[in-house]
Amino acid sequence: MGLSQAEREAIMDRARERGIDLGEEHWYLLELSYDYYRKHKTICTLRTLMKLSGWEKKKIYKLFPGNPVGEISKITGLPMPKEC
């Protein structure tokens, strides 16, 4: 993902503020979002995230409750998809 330890800790703090304790699966989705951002300059939509991860919508909603893509955007500071 190419993030420094300080950046990772900042992300973890922001997630904690939003009631999310980041685990291995959360970081996997964040890594996918960063990879996508490098190519497209936004994070991906929920459907693209489902395809990239191979996970079901319900699982992603459980990891980032409410609005998964919105939560990832707020936690990482990366811009939302154009479609949203």
Partner: protein, 396 residues
């Protein structure tokens, strides 16, 4: 009281007028009539645009209306309960819902046109209300860009004309696709319904994005003895023949025997609705219809659904799995290929029904998709390419 009526000059007409009156119902709850009155006085809605409520426990099933008169009522959050197929609710369930509406809301339950029930409440009451609702065996969903509550007509539980078990199929689909109703992730909302017969009392063809409609493929069955009795008891013989929109009912020779012209009959329900001696055929199934919408949004505006496949046989619940597979495959295809906020109807009209059928591995019948004719069971002469070539004056 007089003072209050003076203040509610618009509402009081309906409050004191004859039955039925929605204002009487609103007034007997804790809904603030002042807000409705204020809107009527201004000639505008009492509520401004709605919005989504972000509640981590509930990805779908809750929403919000923002008031235009915050001094009376700032906002109206509500939950949307997925109603059972067929629209039945026992008195016991209604009492339990009424109790919840009294304790957590304004003592008001809204039966929506989409087959759901809404209880208006407050932000802080939403989660405890939904927990109590879950304990009753009900759940919320059907808001936002997801699969909306799958509605159906009453089917064979109450109707003599039902060709398939519409509530049974709708319940199957509702249970199988519950995640899609509770976790938004589609480009737009997708309404869905199952109608038991071509009368389509739930308006699935016009109102629903993705629906199944009960149909029969063979001809209507005429019981001659019953028909004689029907005529003797004053049945309008001539009116029955004239009522057929395709002129498919013909008198056989000089006898009084009725016959159905198989080429002309479009398998509608007109004669069956009029005469109890004519019953639907025995070969029954569903037509898959997609793309209906009443809304004016989108490039195509209001649309009647496309008949994508005119007949899937249904012998019983053992055939539901295949329909469910098709239902899910189409949802995935639409969700992958549609533009943001593109309803199913606009998507089909942009992409073309032929391509969708090919992508889903279904056969493309020219009489259904390319040159739609009323009698979809009468095949066209020639292939799709030949027919298109003849129609557009070109080959290939």
């Amino acid at each position: 009281m007089k003072q209050k009526e003076k203040e509610l000059s618009f509402c009081s007409r309906l409050l004191n007028g004859p039955y039925p009156s929605h204002v009487k119902e609103l007034a007997s709850s804790r809904y603030p009539l002042e807000i409705y009155e204020a809107g009527l006085k201004e000639g505008a809605s009492a509520f401004g645009p709605g919005g989504y409520l972000s509640i981590p426990e509930l990805p779908s099933g809750t929403s919000l209306r923002l008031s235009r008169y915050p001094e009376v009522w700032a906002e109206s959050p509500f939950i949307r309960i997925l109603g059972p197929a067929g629209g039945w609710m026992s008195a016991e369930t209604l009492e339990a819902l009424a109790d919840l509406a009294e304790r957590y809301g304004q003592g008001l339950v809204h039966f929506t046109t989409g087959g759901t029930l809404e209880i208006y409440t407050t932000r802080e009451n939403i989660v405890p209300l939904v927990r109590e609702l879950n304990a009753l065996g009900y759940d919320v969903g059907s808001t936002g860009d997801d699969l909306r509550c799958i509605t159906s007509c009453c089917g064979p539980a109450r109707c003599d004309l039902a060709l398939v078990d519409a509530p049974g199929l709708a319940t199957y689909l509702g249970q199988r696709f519950i995640d899609d109703q509770q976790y938004p992730g589609f480009p737009q909302k997708c309404k869905s319904g199952v109608a038991g017969c071509p009368n389509d009392c739930i308006r699935a063809m016009m109102q629903k994005d993705h629906s199944f409609i009960g149909v029969y493929r063979d001809l209507p069955v005429i019981d001659e003895l019953l028909l004689e009795e029907w005529v003797k008891s004053g049945g309008d013989w001539q009116g029955l023949i004239e009522a057929c929109p395709e002129g498919a009912l013909v008198v056989e020779g000089k006898s009084s025997k009725l016959k159905v012209d198989p080429e002309a009959c479009v398998r509608c329900m007109t004669c069956i609705n009029l005469c109890s001696a004519i019953r639907p055929g025995k070969e029954r199934g569903v037509a898959w219809v997609a793309g209906g919408k009443y809304g004016h949004r989108g490039p195509k505006g209001p649309m009647v659904g496309y008949v994508m496949v005119p007949f899937f046989p249904i012998r019983g619940p053992e055939d539901y799995d295949a329909l469910g597979d098709l239902f899910g495959a189409f949802l995935e295809f639409w969700a992958d290929q549609a533009k943001p906020k593109e309803r199913v109807g606009d998507f089909i009209s942009r992409v073309g029904p032929s391509r969708i059928l090919r992508e889903l591995g279904l056969s493309v019948e020219p009489q259904v998709v390319e040159m739609p004719r009323k009698n979809v069971f009468r095949p066209c002469k020639g292939t799709v390419v030949e027919i298109k070539g003849a129609f557009y004056g070109c080959t290939g």
